[in-house]
Amino acid sequence: MRARSIPKIFSFEYIMWLFMRISGLAMYVFALTGLTIALIMGARTQMDMGTLLRWTFFPIGTHVTSSDILVLEQWINPFWSIMQYLTIIFATMHGTNGLRMVIEDYMDAGWGVHVLRGLLLIAWLFMLLVAFNLIQTTGAV
């Protein structure tokens, strides 16, 4: 493992460094929004802790339909679909870039890095496609 060189302003590494922090804060906003609105909608009496946590991490209807919720339309609607898209885009970008950083810590600069970045980009796009399909088929009414 070697120390990272100091990135130039607006270099790829600098932008990703900034992105990791901003997307981390964004996921705080998404999770706390989901948790707060869930509690306002009656989660305290209508679902158990595990279900509430599943909803907090990803507000998709299939995470809560097995609980005792009363008004299904409150939990499955376009607002939550938008939240799902935002969460999945930020979370998968954050995760893919994190994996890239971990792997590149153990790699030397060279053509291998470019091949790896290409593979990770493809894997990320595949995961986005699968997740979008899932949101379209099960996340909407």
Partner: protein, 128 residues
């Protein structure tokens, strides 16, 4: 320049980096764990929703076990709260002087939140 390590993995773990080193290691491990979990979960949910696949349902049984929920919950909670510490210290480098105190503060937030939810999940799992 090829990577050369003069110490073995186990020797490396003996490095006395203290709290910040363990936070760094746990941040990587929990991040990789979350990535593995989310990747598998999206894939399994996709297989179940699209094809009614048995494999997807089998993986779902694992996710829904209370032991798995506790591990995932710890990973996400630690990654989130440690990440917040990293963000705060990176954006206000003057605070780096208090890094060790920040790590103690971080654990004092994680332990009660994790303990409370874990207590509820376990008592419910044991038929409470």
């Amino acid at each position: 320049m090829p990577l050369k390590r003069n110490v073995s993995f186990w020797e490396g773990l003996k490095y006395k980096g203290g709290g910040p080193m363990w936070a760094w290691i746990l941040h990587r491990l929990s991040g990789l764990g979350i990535l593995l979990f989310v990747g598998l979960h999206v894939l399994a949910a996709f297989l179940t929703a699209q094809f009614g696949s048995d494999a997807g349902i089998a993986i779902n049984v694992v996710y829904e076990s209370w032991a798995f929920q506790i591990i995932v919950y710890f990973s996400i909670l630690f990654h989130a709260i440690n990440g917040l510490r990293v963000i705060v210290l990176d954006f206000w480098p003057a605070l780096l002087e208090y890094e060790r105190e920040a790590i103690w503060a971080e654990w004092s937030v994680i332990v009660p939140i994790f303990g409370l939810a874990t207590y509820i999940i376990i008592t419910k799992a044991l038929g409470g």
